[in-house]
């Protein structure tokens, strides 16, 4: 274990997730650990997970963003109106560019809102709690204003792929190709890092430990794809697809797999990109240094205000992306979308080991935190627990997780 040099907290999170999954599976008589349930779980987690990646950086700088849920509602409305009302008049209904324009508008609008709130926090020195609390009210109100409260539907066909569903999954073959690419990237990355450390004569993990880690990482990737690929699409849809492609419908039926869902792939790509940003770039280094000691960062010549504003801008852009995922999944834009999401996003980051005191947190942890929260929720739905009790349980788990984390941290000091 010591030779593996893995983050013990990450291992702890994975352990907790395993306990939750197996527990629900036993309680539900085997209904939890099915390809169908796990696939749906992954799709439901995507939107919160994307935002949690940004929230980690916000919290690491000792700030908070309470406005993400309301922002999601507002941006979702704008994205819905753009693609369902404006673009059809300009470029026609179901135009191939509609989805791209809609997503670009969502991300850009989120980025601008984030930068706006960030500049109030960084340059005017207004506490982020206040600015984003104000933002929560402003954007929720603005979400209603866009259409005077009317729901906008349906969404563009290509845009809907962002939300998952049958058209929003990439199929078995493409999923395996992605898995192979991911495994190759993992192995290449680890080998390169090791070479580099060896070239400088620094200590490295023993070879076998490196191999075990590589193997485990690849196994997780392959396992996830195997699960997604064993969840078939409904018979009726499969039959129509077969007919459309001129394949005769065999007597025993055809097994056409979902494969990975597009929102899940998007969330994972965001996770990888944000991890690189947080750990491998100057910007990420500054974010952590500001969280550790803002004065020291400033005295070291870091432009702390600009960095802080960018963190909120990034958070906003990710909210824009999440707004697209949520709107696509619902196939409608409603002004109530994203209600309470800020709390789930913050909870995901905190359960994932992000310290509210700043300076500490990982993107991977936050994404796992989002998965833990969603697992709890959908597990309880599966067991028929009613909503008020679900909230009570999630609330208690949040408090317990943070206490456990704190106790653990004190022990390792």
């Amino acid at each position: 274990m010591r030779h593996l040099e893995v983050d013990p907290r990450l291992v702890g999170m994975l352990g907790a997730l395993a306990v939750i999954w197996v527990g629900f599976d036993l309680l539900s008589g085997g209904a939890f650990l099915t390809p169908r349930n796990l696939w749906n779980l992954s799709v439901q987690t995507a939107s919160i997970a994307v935002m949690a990646c940004g929230m980690v950086l916000v919290i690491v700088t000792r700030n908070i963003d309470l406005s993400v849920g309301a922002m999601l509602g507002f941006i979702g409305m704008v994205v819905g109106v753009v693609q369902a009302r404006w673009l059809p008049e300009v470029i026609g209904l179901e135009h191939p560019a509609t989805a791209f324009i809609a997503v670009a508008v969502g991300v850009a609008l989120g980025g601008v809102i984030g930068l706006m709130q960030g500049s109030l926090i960084a340059y005017l020195g207004i506490p982020s709690f206040i600015v984003t609390l104000g933002g929560l009210l402003v954007w929720r109100g603005a979400a209603w204003w866009v259409t005077q409260g009317q729901t906008v539907a349906p969404m563009d066909g290509r845009f809907r792929m962002l939300g998952g569903g049958i058209e929003g999954a990439i199929g078995a073959t493409a999923s395996w190709v992605l898995a192979a690419l991911a495994c190759a990237a993992i192995v290449a990355g680890m080998v390169m890092l090791r070479r580099r450390r060896l070239a400088f004569g620094f200590p490295v993990r023993p070879g076998w430990a490196e191999g075990v880690l590589m193997g485990l990482a690849c196994l997780v990737v392959i396992g996830a794809v195997a699960v997604a690929n064993s969840y078939p699409i409904p018979v009726g849809v499969a039959r129509r697809m077969a007919e459309a492609q001129g394949i005769a419908w065999p007597p025993g039926g055809l097994f056409i797999a979902h494969g990975l869902a597009i929102p899940v792939i998007v969330a994972l790509m965001v996770g990888v990109a944000m991890t690189v940003l947080a750990t491998r770039t100057r910007f990420g280094r500054y974010v952590f240094a500001i969280g550790g000691n803002p004065e020291a960062a400033e005295l070291s010549g870091v432009n702390t205000r600009r960095s802080l504003m960018m963190v909120f801008g990034l958070m906003g852009a990710l909210v824009g992306l999440s707004a697209c995922i949520a709107t696509a999944r619902l196939n409608a834009a409603t002004n109530a979308a994203g209600t309470l999401d800020e709390l789930y996003v913050i909870a995901a980051a905190v359960i994932g080991g992000t310290s509210l005191a700043g300076g500490m947190g990982t993107v991977a942890g936050a994404m796992l935190g989002a998965l833990v929260m969603q697992s709890l929720q959908s597990g309880m739905v599966l067991l028929g627990v009613d909503t008020p009790l679900q909230n009570i349980v999630v609330g208690l788990v949040l408090v317990f997780a943070v206490w456990l984390d704190g106790a653990w941290r004190k022990r390792i000091r």
Binding site: R196, T281, R282, F288, N293, E295, A296, G301, N303, G359
Partner: protein, 258 residues
């Protein structure tokens, strides 16, 4: 006389009515060590923080090599080759020694990503000069001892080829061997033509290392003297009583002669 490396003239700054620094003028020649002395709260740290860009003076002028220098941020100061070891060390506790040393000036790879291996390698070299026993390169600075943290802060200041070095009580937390090492370092840097402002409460160290002393009292300059022209007792008199000896250049804060 050649142009001074740094000249601070008539510097004043107030914090909400308290004049922390009041009309102070000091200067520094290349290859010279000037010690800044004074009781606790005399305004030494505040004065050098104006030079390092942490504060902006309310009045006064800074010249670097004879040219008026506009220093508004720590980034500006570093551009003039001014490096600072702060009394508070100013380290980010949650990242490791290399990340602190290179903070704001990271080495990046061809792809613009952090080159941690190169930074760790440079850190090992510079730390070997200061603290040969140091091994904890991978740990956050929080886990280091006070002296080790101080070594990291010193390493950060000397790694980037400073022309002007400000050391605010650099050896306060160091053991005797490490203190001697810093003394050696000061002499080496001086020989390279670097100008050093040294703040210290150890009068013996000051007489050992400094060419001149400037003494402050209640935010005002008592006077400046060559260490070869005055005795330790006279300097103590300047610090405690504000009494300026014959051999010193009087400042506005000197006690009136009776």
């Amino acid at each position: 006389m050649s142009t001074p490396l740094v000249e601070m003239r008539g510097i004043s700054i107030a914090f909400g009515g308290i004049k922390a620094v009041d009309d102070v003028s000091v200067d520094l020649m290349p290859g010279e060590v000037v010690a800044l002395l004074g009781h606790n709260g005399a305004g030494k740290s505040t004065l050098i923080k104006i030079l390092s860009g942490a504060y902006r003076a309310d009045a006064g002028e800074i010249r670097v090599e004879g040219q008026v220098a506009d220093i508004g941020t720590p980034r500006d100061a570093k551009r003039y080759g001014i490096e600072t070891i702060y009394q508070t060390l100013a380290l980010a506790d949650n990242v490791d020694a290399a990340a602190n040393i290179f903070l704001g000036r990271e080495i990046v790879t061809r792809w613009g990503t952090l080159d941690d291996a190169a930074m760790e390698s440079a850190t090992r070299q510079v730390m070997a000069r200061l603290n040969p026993h140091f091994r904890r390169f991978k740990e956050p600075v929080r886990a280091l001892s006070g002296g080790q943290r101080q070594s990291v802060a010193i390493a950060r200041a000397i790694h980037f080829n400073a022309r002007i070095l400000i050391m605010d009580e650099p050896t306060a937390a160091l053991g005797p061997a490490e203190t001697a090492q810093v003394g050696e370092l000061v002499k080496q840097l001086k020989a390279q033509g670097i100008g050093i402002f040294l703040i210290s409460h150890d009068i013996h160290d000051v007489f050992d290392l400094a060419d001149r002393v400037s003494v402050m009292k209640n935010g005002r300059l008592v006077g400046t003297a060559r260490t070869s022209d005055v005795t330790k007792d006279e300097v103590l008199g300047m610090i405690i009583l504000g009494k300026c000896p014959e051999a010193a250049v009087r400042g506005p804060g000197a006690m009136a002669d009776s």
